[in-house]
């Protein structure tokens, strides 16, 4: 499909702007001539062309509203429409972050209550809503770890992560100047307690664990893990990406975690927007509350205010207060569900995952064959015997009209296929997906070529606008912008 730049024609415009109603001065009198730009090559297109262009593009994009999106670790659940409408209320959408606090009582009240609800759900004592995404939440959490030990004048330089962890965990540790130590999982797919004990010493500031972990397994020895960490003076961080598994069932705070980040765009139903905006609030136990980013929200009787008087705070990690528009949607979701609703989310998410896992395990290798939580990880290694890679299976699923699961993650499972159905899928859809997966397993045996050449574009009877794209060529000779724009005066 053409780029918008290729549709440009001199003299067209997609917006009408008013005449200047104040007496105009010559631009050169206001801005020094050498500060003015000589050209601005933006495309010239009419409103209707813009609308058609992006509408057409939207039809070439797969979302949760299009169909099943079993992307493991991403919790692609349905995004309630009423929340989108609520976020558009003028009081939410059109309030200035620096307007007088007296004019922002609704926003502050909402944030205050959202913090309280998240604290109750996770069993933590305090929350910040400032981080814009899970990875920024991790960074914020580790900054607090660092500040906490600096205040105690303890020099600790290492962070322990699991070999099944998200890549953001060690990357966040590096951003905080920590060295990451990776410990191996045991044959049950969980933390190897002996290995952990060996790695743990007084240099370790923090252990980062995902629970349930990225294999979809609950860390059964979590109480022992947090106890031995605390005994060595280390803190324990929970990557809360998988919180959907035990909402209202169990709480990370009770497990001994000191810090957790949540992904409002996963667990709490705010749309992921094709890669953001997200929101990654961080909750902490009492001892870390003084280090939370500032400002925090204070309530005195029925008046809410922003409190910047936080001498131990790590500071700010984002301008203003975080992705407020996302918080509005998550808060609305929590208010719609209530405690029973939340528990129902976890129960049905786990039920659906176990159902799909059992339906698929005789067709795909299941490395850890035990009750899973909200997701499970298969391996495509049986199919590899016929030369069919997991990537081929993922692409073939697009031909069947499904989004692919997460693939090649976690790194400890070869040819990994990570499936997270979520609670918002009806049983019939799970059955259809299972049938597709089973048919693909059959194809891999009998007609591997059709899998290896997937996806098949619409011109060949498939569903995607293009066939499999060449990732190697893209990286070898990067073309990251439309270059012709430079050459012509449009």
């Amino acid at each position: 499909m053409k780029l918008i730049f290729e549709k440009s024609k001199p003299g067209r415009m997609g917006i009408s702007l008013p005449d200047c109603d104040v007496p105009e001065k010559k631009i050169e009198e206001l801005i020094p001539k050498n500060s003015l730009r000589s050209k601005l090559n933006l495309p010239e297109v009419s409103e209707v062309e813009v609308v058609r262009h992006y509408t057409k593009l939207s039809t070439q994009n797969y979302g949760v509203d299009t169909g099943f999106y079993p992307l493991g670790s991403c919790t692609m659940k349905y995004n309630p429409k009423v929340n989108e409408e609520i976020a558009k209320f003028p009081g939410f959408k059109s309030s200035h972050p620096l307007q007088d606090e007296g004019l922002s009582q609704g926003a502050l009240e909402l944030m205050y209550h959202l913090e309280k609800i998240l604290s109750e759900i996770t069993g933590m004592d305090g929350f910040t809503l400032q981080p814009a995404a899970g990875a920024q939440g991790e960074l914020t959490g580790l900054m607090m770890v660092k500040a906490c030990f600096e205040q105690k004048r303890e020099k600790r330089t290492k962070i322990i992560v699991s070999d099944s962890s998200h890549g953001t965990n060690p990357a966040s540790a590096s951003l905080c100047g920590y060295e990451s130590i990776t410990i191996k999982s045991n044959e049950r797919g969980t933390v190897d307690l002996e290995g952990l004990k060996r790695a743990l010493n007084e240099d370790v500031a923090c252990i980062i664990l995902t629970n349930p972990n990225t294999l979809g397994l609950f860390e059964e020895e979590i109480l022992e893990i947090t106890a031995i960490a605390h005994k060595k003076g280390a803190l324990v961080y929970c990557d809360g990406a998988n919180m959907n598994a035990f909402l209202g069932i169990a709480r990370p705070g009770d497990m001994g975690f000191d810090i957790i980040h949540l992904n409002l765009h996963k667990t709490f139903s705010t749309p992921h927007g094709g890669g953001g905006p997200g929101s990654g609030p961080v909750g902490v136990k009492k001892s870390l509350v003084p280090f939370l980013p500032k400002p925090t929200i204070k309530r005195e009787k029925d008046k809410y205010s922003l409190d910047y008087d936080k001498p131990l705070s790590i500071g700010k990690i984002k301008a203003f207060y975080g992705n407020f528009g996302v918080m509005v949607k998550a808060y609305a979701y929590l208010r719609a569900l209530g405690p029973e609703g939340l528990r129902g989310v976890a129960e049905n998410a786990v039920l659906n995952a176990n159902y799909l896992m059992k339906k698929l395990k005789s067709y795909y290798y299941l490395p850890f064959d035990r009750t899973c939580m909200h997701e499970f990880v298969l391996s495509g290694k049986k199919q590899l015997e016929k030369g069919v890679h997991t990537n081929d299976i993922a692409k073939r699923l697009l031909d069947y009209g499904f989004h692919a699961p997460t693939v090649y993650f976690p790194l400890i499972v070869s040819e990994a296929i990570m499936v997270e159905p979520t609670e918002t899928e009806p049983k019939e859809i799970l059955d259809e997906f299972a049938s597709a997966m089973i048919e693909i397993a059959q194809e891999a045996k009998e007609n591997p070529e059709i899998v290896k050449t997937a996806p098949h574009p619409t011109t060949e009877g498939g569903r995607t606008p293009v066939g499999r794209l060449d990732a190697v060529a893209a990286a070898r000779k990067p073309n990251l912008r439309w270059k012709k724009l430079d050459k012509r005066e449009i």
Partner: protein, 446 residues
Amino acid sequence: MRFIPNTDQDRKEILEFLGIKSIKELFKNIPEELLLKKNLKIPKGFSEIELVREMRFLSEKNADLEHYSCFLGAGAYHHFIPAIIPHLMGRSEFYTSYTPYQPEASQGLLQTIYEFQTLICELTGMDVANASMYDGASALAEAMIMAFHITGRKEVIISRTIHPEYREVVKTYAQAKNLKIIEIEYENGITSLEELKRKVSDKTAAVLIQNPNFFGSLEDIKEIERIAHKNKSLFIVAIVEPTSLGLLKPPGELGADIVVGEGQSFGNPISFGGPYLGFMATKDKYMRKLPGRLVGATKDSKGRRGYILTLQAREQHIRREKATSNICTNEALCALAATIYLVSLGKEGLRRVAELSLQKAHYAFEKIKEIDEFEAAFASPFYNEFIVECRDAQGVNRVLLKEKIIGPLELEKYYPELKNHLLFCATEMNSKEEIDGLVNILRKIK
């Protein structure tokens, strides 16, 4: 539960298939002592009617710019948002998708990101731009870390005319990474060149400035660039009010090595401070040091053009602790709004928005400084924000609020030495009538 399709019958069938009696058995791996015995203590669930009522009530406790006039900017700008933007953003194929890991099923979004990258390069005069950052402030902090990775130097020079919240974010990141921050004072509303010359050294990884700066003034970019590059430091420019690029020379033409900024002005609602979008662009030679997602053009087996996430060897999911950054989710949907905004306006439209903002701010400035009690603070040229000194800044805002005007920023909040200094902002949204009304009220304040 309206978001959970499983019926009791479905659950029964699934349990039978699994060979278990109750859902409880699925949680048997969780130690008994951890299982909650009671409901969480959170408010009970609402029907949609109750929810909308409650949320509307809460929203109405906020003042909003649809019912108030606004002369406040300071990093969050009230610009016009054409109707097609919310309309197209409502296409749920876009907003309900994840990061485009399966490119063949995500061509729509990938192409819009490629268009966004192209637009940011054109506006900033740089070679390569990423898919977006969290916001302008964290983009500036990431640019600082990128400069550290490129130069290996551990000192960073930052002008005090940079948005105070941006400086705070930069400091937070610097502290984590053990980088040293050196602040440079301002003179007559712009960065002090004398002090800058004194403080830049061969330890300086980068010089960070904002243009137009937090006071609205235009910096002497060419001179700052010379000072930075003389010491082989990188020169980083932050653009917080990006409509200014409709008129101003792109930083890339002035020698910037990294340009970052806040894209909120481009079609994103002001939304109490977020979600906004950071942008980040650099020269070709630093492409592989960029943090964040990059979309590249490529082909399928039949030679059809398509788009794909690329150069992922920089990123956390491949590189883990050696990645250029930990960023993963960014602000794709906000970048889509910015893209639609920029292509709708086109070259004439963006220039027009910039001219209107410039003219209105200067009109307001001329009128306000005619009043005896108000005096211009600085003489530097400015874009759409300016500072005046008055007798009682708080008093001014108290009066304005009574007239349903969200008034200027009281600078003392961030600059103790600027007591009774007010930072005004105007955009195309402020009519002459509104500005005259503001001036009339100010004139009556004694």
